[in-house]
């Protein structure tokens, strides 16, 4: 797809997204806002898992870091939420840098286990440090603006998601993106042609974590109540499922997956705890019939190009 055509399609979708909530009620608006949070989470996790092959289970934890940092600063120090979100993003980036550096020499399952441990430790600390975090009761935090308005929150989340996606798109289509994919495909070969593998991996961790922290911070100030549900494995696996079902390693995949699963969840909510079962079934069916996700399915049935362009989405 040429850049111009792509820009036109993006503009059409974006204007559609701008008008979409106007005709909807409060509840569908809420669902869309949450979906946009998941778009940011899944897309940034995709940078780690889909583009550099680092399957981190600490991504929801980073969103938790962003949310709690900003929330605690607002409650205890009276800082304005926007400043708090910025600080939360920075702290998530810093921790992402540390976690990435810790996992440098690890691949595959070892990296996943280390990040899983990080996520669990954080969860335990948040639940137990009741005086600071209010534990499982949740921390009540102020909103982003004085007067609560769903539609304003929607536009803020939309702008944030567009910002994150634009940064990701630019990265993926730059030299860095080629290096990311080279590292994912074969680390030893990447090294042999001069890719600074360690730097590339840590960079991906730092950027993805910052994005999760940013998304988590905004989400917390939207919910007005930050609970340990944000840095939880439930949320982590939901992000994972969205990315995998949408199509790991593709730009559009996580976006589609986030909307699809989050909206699906609303429809199956009536089944209570059984909705997890439906999630599992969806994941199973996708894994069997579309191992490369929804976007992979599209690529499979599209007529074969004799001259695939270098740029792919």
């Amino acid at each position: 797809m040429t850049g111009k055509k792509l820009a036109v399609i993006a503009a059409i979708i974006l204007s559609g997204m701008c008008v979409l909530p106007l005709g909807l009620g409060i509840y569908p608006q809420h669902v869309l806002i949450v979906s946009l949070f998941y778009v940011m989470m899944a897309s940034s996790w995709n940078l780690l898992a889909g583009y550099t092959g680092q399957v981190s289970f600490g991504h929801a934890a980073m969103a938790g870091i962003g949310a709690y940092t900003s929330g605690i600063l607002a409650v205890k120090a009276g800082l304005h939420p926007w400043i708090g979100v910025c600080i939360g993003t920075a702290i998530a980036a810093l921790l992402g840098f540390g976690l990435g550096a810790l996992c440098l020499k690890m691949g595959g399952i070892y990296l996943s286990l280390t990040t899983l441990a990080f996520s669990q430790i954080l969860h335990i600390v948040i639940v137990n440090e009741y005086n600071v975090t209010r534990g499982t009761m949740g921390l009540q935090v102020p909103g982003l603006m004085d007067e609560y308005s769903k539609i304003t929150y929607y536009y803020i989340m939309l702008a944030a998601a567009v910002l994150i996606l634009a940064i990701l798109y630019r990265m993926i289509h730059s030299n860095l993106g080629l290096n990311f994919r080279a590292v994912q495909n074969d680390e030893a070969a990447a090294k042999s042609v001069g890719v600074r593998v360690l730097r590339v991996r840590v960079l991906a961790f730092t950027v993805a974590s910052a994005m999760a922290g940013f998304a988590g911070g905004l989400y917390g100030h939207y919910l007005l109540l930050i609970t340990p549900e944000i840095p939880s494995l439930d949320l982590q696996f939901k992000v994972l499922a969205m990315t995998v079902i949408g199509g790991m390693g593709s730009f559009l995949g996580p976006i589609l997956g986030a909307f699809a699963l989050n909206i699906l969840e609303e429809y199956i909510r009536v089944y209570g705890e059984y909705h997890v079962l439906v999630f599992g079934l969806v994941a199973l069916v996708v894994a069997r019939f579309a191992p490369n996700g929804l976007t992979g399915l599209w690529r499979k049935f599209r007529p074969v190009r004799t001259q695939p362009a270098v740029k792919q989405i």
Partner: protein, 239 residues
């Protein structure tokens, strides 16, 4: 001074002494063959030189710089490129992208158009021009070897290290490949260090041959000296 020099290079894996006190030199502008029976340590020597792992002891000097223990990416930036015995293409990337990865790390500041045309040039140099849009995993073994060669060339090396590039070729293809490797030296001014099992090819193309056996240098000399040496014959054929 020689382009590449190894002094007392040793490498052991646990209790296995893969290389012991190997000394060798590769002069600028030459094609040097590295031969030896299976398990002699040829690929281990390659890996130690190219930075895939650190030698247990000894020193490696490349282009007047001590590169002992430097990581592979740093060694590559200094001008050393390699291919792998078992090919390692970036499978899910197109051939063009494979070569572009090498090019962008040599020229990080250059615009995309320059990188793409450089990558295309290298692809057509190895005869893969029509394959540029195909994902590398779809290539056959011989094409994968060529792709690795193009990728290595796109790092603009001074020294190219080839690890068994002739496997699976017929006689006619071998003589074409030999011509090709000669042209690397004659046209691009490269120095080539070349592991190969196809003796005839090494004998035609190389000026010097290093023979490894059981992790040690058995001898080094001209191809004619090597084939007539009783120690070499014994190493290959036994008593």
């Amino acid at each position: 001074m020689a382009l590449l020099e190894g002094r007392n290079v040793s490498k052991s894996f646990g209790g296995v002494q893969a290389l012991s006190q190997v000394d060798f030199t590769v002069e600028r502008g030459t094609i040097v063959g590295l031969i030896g029976p299976n398990g002699a340590g040829k690929t281990t020597l390659f890996n130690a030189v190219a930075g895939a792992f650190k030698p247990t002891s000894g020193r490696i000097v490349f282009d007047e710089a001590d590169i002992t223990g430097l990581p592979a990416n740093a060694v590559c930036r200094l001008g050393m490129a390699r291919t792998f015995q078992v090919t390692r293409p970036f499978g899910a990337m197109t051939c063009l992208e494979n070569v572009m990865v090498a090019a962008i790390n040599r020229h990080p500041q250059k615009p995309r158009a320059f990188i793409e045309s450089m990558a295309r040039e290298k692809l057509s140099f190895v005869g893969l021009a029509e394959m540029e849009g195909f994902e590398a995993r779809h290539l056959n073994v011989i094409q994968k070897k060529r792709l690795e060669m193009a990728r290595a060339l796109a790092t603009e090396p001074k020294l190219l290290m080839l690890d068994e590039v002739l496997g699976g070729l017929n006689t006619q293809e071998i003589s074409q490949a030999v011509e090709f490797i000669r042209s690397l030296r004659d046209q691009l001014g490269l120095t080539v260090l070349w592991i190969e099992h196809v003796m005839g090819a090494i004998m035609q193309a190389a000026e010097r041959v290093i023979v490894l056996d059981q992790g040690q240098v058995l001898m080094a000399g001209t191809p004619a000296e090597v084939v007539n040496d009783p120690r070499v014959i014994q190493a290959y054929l036994g008593e």
